[in-house]
Symmetry: C2
Subunit: 403 residues, 2 copies
């Protein structure tokens, strides 16, 4: 009983952002139909894959959707997709895509069939050039500001953050436009580009101002928290931890928990400045780190971790993906957002559902991703409204495919 | 005239995620009221700051909102905030927060005043522990998988990606719950935690499956595109570029544009495998890079850039923030999402509006962030509905403050 129960969304997509958008809606209860060409979309074999080549990536980003496989080079295939996108229903006529197809699948054409269609399109950049997370990120400047202080080598991020942000924005765009339609009856086209999402965020985070107003091109600052205090330390047991002194309370907690009050007071006296000021902590972070490093080098996480938690220190271990999964119950069914489910063709493993807790809608357990074409027949019947004889012919002629 | 025109959202927040959520709504036309204590919230001086200490960060994340400054240690201050959050109106009663305040500001208490209140709360983790982007990221494993191949040092990201994702999810949660309220009359509490957002994404991207099904703990892969082909190269002019061969088309474009067809065919013959397979490109990326590196080392971006664009190669320069701003019109008012605006107390610089293009709603030009308390008086009058005499007394008694 998801909060979006009754809504139907059609998705023509590949890779991260739009599949994530569709999945986010599906995990809130919407009926999300992803259509793909007969051999699967461009992401059908995206790594990571299992030993026999099944995509864990695809399984991860398409959970809870219905899948139809159809030949869109065939006019009848295109016609059927058009019918599915434009199928009637007050909570339907919602289309998400990152496939720029001029002609039969553009907003102008589709909206002749359903004038109140809401279509959300994610593009690479505003010039029509291709762009992916891996190219947008170097273009906006983050790799040059990432990594060890003084290093000249850019470091690209591993999380496809722009895709994840843009995918969530696509959900926002769809819900906002659907809200507008509920009030006015009017559909519309909603467009965003991956590069504009990144460019806007650069401004939102103050980085454009830092360049334009301060004339500062932010250098690499290692793993330090920018603008206040936060640093990684290696402990006596070889563990590495991140500790945070962003707010005044966090800073005081960190100083107290490490018994560094006297040393910090002496530093403040020497500098003639109060480290209660976050900017002063940033400017003198090297001196602070020199005080704290011997403490962490002499102490073990097993000894101080519980005390840090009790004192409300904001901190974390660094750990690999595998270790996080092995050690942290937040990645297991002990966390209510997770369940062990059987993913057809892959096996049983812990799978996340929606991280949202809607008090009025309850929590839907995670659903597996469909097999490619798993719902072809039922979608042709219940959404496109085709009679069974015609559906059989479409299968026979190879225009559509089942799982 | 934004697509959310008429909606009113109240925001009690600090730092990135919830301020970003409120701003996203404001930039779509909602009336977003951010309330803060008299001296400003925890992020009021967040770096980057100007030479005289004005926060470019705060200005970046609060654009287009109204601001009220109020003493919430005072019972009358708390009462007024309650009135503002629960003020009548079918498109009001929407509250976004990352401040966990038990008692007067929790959902249970507020909803006694407005039973159909929609309240979206972002928390650190599900156990009630504090967590910020800087701690969630090492906890889930990305820094251990980031940076040069073979390095043992974790590299934290600089973009607060989890905050940016969670902030956009808060918007989704609010719009979905408001949609539910429009249909049922029912309000609700919507909760997400920063750590659950990250944990779910780890699963969504297939990384949990990679560990649990394949038993693989992904190592650092430098700047390589994971699972297919994509690599950074240094060119004859010293420029560094990222080139992508993720899809078959991108791969063929890259091979053709660099004239590497014969060398790649020879490599395929030697390996006895087709590099048309994305997994083969990944497994043999070192050999591919050895073929392409001399080409880039011998060529200048000025010479091949236009040809790459013409051939539809997916590629990008690496550049610093300052260089991106100096060279790329996408970060300037040549891009319709940007305008030069006067930010009171800071000055004039290029500021992004919403990256969305809603065809039925037009594009709102970027608005500056308010000064702290800039709208205190008008909010007390038009939202809390207080008579002017009482407003004057609140100012006199120091319970509220203007700019």
């Amino acid at each position: 009983m998801g909060v979006l129960k009754g809504m139907r969304v059609v998705e023509g997509s590949a890779f991260v952002a739009i599949p994530l958008a569709g999945m986010t809606l599906a995990q809130m209860g919407a009926d999300v139909i992803r259509f793909d060409r007969l051999e699967g979309g461009l992401d059908h074999h995206r790594w990571p894959v299992t030993q026999d080549g099944k995509s864990l990536f695809w399984a991860g980003l398409n959970k809870g959707k219905r899948s139809i496989a159809i030949d869109m080079r065939h006019p009848r295939g295109r016609e059927i997709i058009t019918e599915i996108i434009c199928a009637p229903g007050p909570d339907a006529g919602l289309f998400l895509t990152n496939l720029r197809v001029r002609g039969w699948m553009d907003h102008e054409t589709l909206s002749t069939r359903r004038p109140d269609l809401v279509m959300v399109t994610l593009l690479g950049d505003r010039h029509g050039h291709p762009a992916v997370d891996y190219t947008v990120n170097p273009a906006v400047g983050f790799p040059d500001a990432t990594g060890p202080e003084g290093s000249a080598d850019p470091v690209a991020h591993v999380l496809p953050a722009w895709d994840c942000i843009a995918g969530n924005m696509a959900v926002t765009g769809l819900l906002a436009a659907e809200r507008h339609r509920l009030r006015t009856g009017q559909g519309q086209s909603v467009e965003i580009t991956l590069k504009d999402v990144a460019a806007a965020m650069l401004g939102n985070l103050g980085i454009i101002g830092e360049v334009a107003v301060n004339g500062v091109d932010r250098p690499k600052n290692g793993n330090a928290l920018y603008g206040a205090y936060g640093q990684d330390f290696v402990c006596a047991d070889g563990e590495r931890v991140m500790v945070i002194g962003l707010t005044d309370r966090q800073w005081r907690g960190l100083v107290e928990a490490t018994g560094s009050g006297a040393a910090i007071a002496a530093l403040e006296a020497e500098l003639g400045t109060s480290l209660a000021d976050e900017g002063a902590r940033w400017l003198h972070r090297g001196r602070i780190t020199a005080i704290l490093a011997p403490w962490f080098a002499a102490n073990r996480v097993a000894e101080f971790g519980a005390a840090f938690d009790k004192a409300g220190v904001t901190w974390s271990l660094f750990r690999s993906f595998a270790r996080a999964l092995a050690e942290d119950p937040d990645f297991s069914p002990q966390n209510p957002i997770f369940a062990e489910i059987d993913q057809p063709g892959i096996g049983r493993y812990p799978v996340p559902g929606s991280p949202f807790a809607f008090s009025a809608a309850g929590r839907e357990p995670p659903a597996p991703a469909p097999l490619l074409g798993q719902h072809t027949e039922e979608i042709l019947a219940d959404v496109a409204g085709l009679p069974s004889g015609e559906i059989a012919r479409l299968f026979d002629e190879g225009i559509v495919k089942g799982p």
